[in-house]
């Protein structure tokens, strides 16, 4: 074996040992990282707490034209099948294109349930099926929704969908039912596991990062810090509903 070959063999061994150590380190650390994640999650038997208020900050300047990743991810996550009948299909989040009537300036943004502090849908629901969790997430209890659709009349954001047709291939985490009303749950099943909503994850994966999810009540959270230092607004702010979803750039 020549000297050159010997050197090359040493380098290979060093590379192998280095890669192995890195791999072992990852294996050793990953569960720890996962544990931290799980540590942030709420145990299944613990009620949602008012010490949190989950919300979202949407920067419309970062929302890319033609990108529909948030809506696609929402449909996939929640098992919402688009049948090509947009009038009756459930859409929990949709991309809205805006054009200023005077200046002609255009912009786009995602629109979904705004998770109001004072939700009109909850006020009008006769059975209490529309409700707000202690952590601010507005949901529909599918067991007591009678399908009267009064909440859809009351919602200022057209955020709710009525299930017009029989459903198939539902997701175990997201129970749905024909004849009931539904809307964005802020991916409550993911949030309760300590994860972020599917739309936020998808937007980040596309590299836009237009959607920021977090705890509005946690002063150290990024969302709280940004809301404190940057200008933002609520949609239909004059209704004073104190929405959990805020917008920038409109």
């Amino acid at each position: 074996m020549s000297e050159k070959e010997q050197e090359s063999g040493k380098a290979g061994r060093r590379g192998f040992i280095g890669a192995s150590i890195a791999g072992l380190a990852t294996l050793a650390l990953a569960p720890g990282v996962r544990l931290i994640e799980i540590g942030n999650a709420r145990p299944a038997d613990e009620a949602a707490s008012s010490t949190h208020r989950w919300g979202m900050l949407i920067d419309t300047n970062k929302c890319a034209k033609g990108c529909n990743a948030c809506a696609t991810a929402c449909n996939l996550e929640n098992g919402l099948v688009q049948t090509g009948r947009p009038r009756t299909d459930a859409q929990w989040i949709r991309k809205v294109e805006l054009r200023d009537k005077r200046t002609g300036a255009t912009q786009q943004m995602p629109l979904m349930c705004q998770h109001c502090e004072h939700p009109p849908c909850v006020d009008v629901c006769p059975t209490g099926a529309s409700f707000k969790r202690a952590d601010g997430i507005v949901l529909v209890d599918r067991h007591i929704c009678i399908g009267c659709r009064y909440c859809m009349m009351a919602c200022p954001y057209k955020a709710r969908s009525f299930v017009h047709e029989p459903l198939t291939e539902q997701k175990p985490d997201v129970p749905r039912g024909k004849g009931c009303v539904e809307s964005c749950t802020l991916c409550v099943h993911r949030v309760d596991r300590g994860e972020t909503p599917a739309c936020v994850e998808a937007c980040a994966a596309e590299g836009h990062k237009a959607l920021l999810f977090g705890d509005l009540k946690d002063a150290n959270s990024e969302i709280a810090k940004r809301l404190k230092t940057e200008a933002s607004t609520e949609l239909r702010a004059n209704l004073q509903l104190n929405t959990g979803v805020r917008y920038q750039g409109i």
């Binding site: 809506a71 009948r85 947009p86 009038r87 009756t88 459930a90 859409q91 949709r94 991309k95 809205v96 294109e97 805006l98 054009r99 200023d100 009537k101 005077r102 629109l111 009109p120 909850v122 006020d123 009008v124 629901c125 006769p126 059975t127 209490g128 099926a129 007591i144 929704c145 009678i146 399908g147 009267c148 659709r149 009064y150 859809m152 009349m153 009351a154 919602c155 200022p156 954001y157 057209k158 709710r160 969908s161 009525f162 299930v163 017009h164 047709e165 029989p166 039912g177 024909k178 004849g179 009931c180 009303v181 949609l235 239909r236 209704l239 409109i250």
Partner: protein, 401 residues
């Protein structure tokens, strides 16, 4: 012999009417079953127009059910003898129409099988919850009222019962108007004027229904309504028609005054296609102007058929007005982004293209069928034909000869 022939004919006629009513109810129930098994996809409703034709029928029936009781109230609460003899029929019609309206409302739910949930889970911040109590309560209040009228020993309580029914139905119609009045989200609603508007509408529609049913019963029994009584009732109907027109005018004028409402008002009154047509031709011309002409015309106003025609047209106008208010109010897009043109896959910024479907219409007609059937059977079993005591009326100065 002649009497026997009449009875045989009358009996056949009754069973014919009951069968016709039953058929309409049956078709309505079939339509509801079809909607429940296939989902609301088979209706014209969508995620923007969430309340369709069944709501028009249901709200008409419930509002008219409250208003028809006015006839009884004028008798019992305000002591008018002419109306006292009409109180039982008024109560029966009220129960019949309320039952029809509630049936439609219930069967149009996404989950009509969960009626028990609606009866056991309450959110008292919701006007719907209050209406559950107000509507079912009206059945009880009117039933007790009818009892005090029909049972001689209970007659002395009829004034108290009548007064309770009077107040109850005012609150009830306020509740029905408030279903829309409390909606802050949509331009068409969120107005305090809707509650009193619904009350005056109920007076007019209820009296129109009463006049039609009364004249049908009189002609069936080959009786004629005394001209002075006709005059009293048609004049009252005229006042109610004008009263409704006043509130409708105030409602639109208010909207015209607010810059933010102008687009919506233009849509409803000028360029919204079917809605301005139904408003101006259906409600203003056919449902208001022509009935007022028929009622107050010096010659025509004295004829019974003209008053009946006026009543029928008022009911046509009622449906036109409710269509504009309920469907038109939803079809116009929400103003989420003032000053911007909006578009999306969810049809934001677009007028919703609602068209009534056959199952919806059949369900609505089924509600009318229920009201018709209850009235037909009730009238026959309970002998609620208003019989005027002309001597007493003359003494009270209600009629001249």
């Amino acid at each position: 012999m002649q009497v026997e022939v009449f009875h045989r004919l009358e009996e056949r006629f009754f069973y014919g009417l009951a069968l016709a009513g039953g058929l309409i109810v049956g078709l309505g129930l079939l339509a509801a079953h079809y909607m429940e098994t296939h989902g609301h996809i088979v209706t014209g409703m969508d995620n923007q127009v969430v309340w369709g034709t069944p709501h028009i029928f249901a709200i008409f029936l419930i509002v008219a059910a409250s208003g028809v009781l006015n006839v009884a109230s004028i008798g019992s609460v305000f002591g008018k003898t002419v109306y006292k003899t009409r109180a039982p029929l008024s109560g029966l019609l009220s129960i019949a129409m309320l039952a029809g309206g509630l049936m439609v409302l219930m069967l149009d739910l996404g989950r009509p099988d969960r009626l028990i949930v609606a009866m056991t889970y309450y959110n008292f911040k919701s006007i719907f919850t209050w209406n559950v109590f107000l509507y079912t309560g009206l059945f009880a209040v009117v039933a007790v009222y009818l009892w005090t009228l029909m049972e001689r020993r209970m007659n002395r309580y009829s004034k108290v019962a009548g007064f309770t029914a009077f107040v109850w139905r005012l609150v009830l119609t306020t509740g029905t108007g408030s279903i829309f009045g409390f909606l802050v989200a949509r331009q068409a609603y969120a107005s305090a004027v809707l509650a009193p508007m619904f009350i005056v509408m109920s007076f007019g529609w209820g009296l129109a229904v009463f006049c039609i049913v009364q004249s049908a019963m009189f002609s069936w029994n080959k009786m004629e309504l005394h001209p002075d009584i006709l005059k009293r009732m048609k004049n009252l109907l005229g006042i109610f028609i004008a009263g409704t027109a006043y509130f409708v005018a105030v409602y639109h004028l208010t909207n015209l005054y607010f810059a933010k409402q102008i687009d919506f008002t233009r849509f409803i009154l000028v360029d919204g296609g079917i809605y301005p047509l139904l408003f101006w031709v259906g409600y203003v011309l056919i449902g208001t102007a022509i009935p007022l002409f028929l009622i107050y015309h010096p010659k025509l106003g004295k004829s019974c058929p003209a008053v009946i025609w006026a009543s029928v047209l008022v009911l046509f106008g009622a449906f036109a007005l409710l269509y504009v208010l309920i469907i038109g109010g939803q079809a116009f897009p929400l103003d989420i982004f003032p000053g911007k043109e909006v578009s999306s896959s969810f049809l934001d910024g677009q007028v919703a293209p609602y068209a009534p479907s056959a199952p919806e219409i059949l369900l609505g007609l089924g509600g009318i069928g229920v009201a018709f059937l209850i009235t037909t059977i009730g009238v026959r079993v309970l002998h609620f034909l208003p019989q005027d005591d002309f001597v007493q009326l003359q003494g009270a100065g209600n009629i001249t000869d």
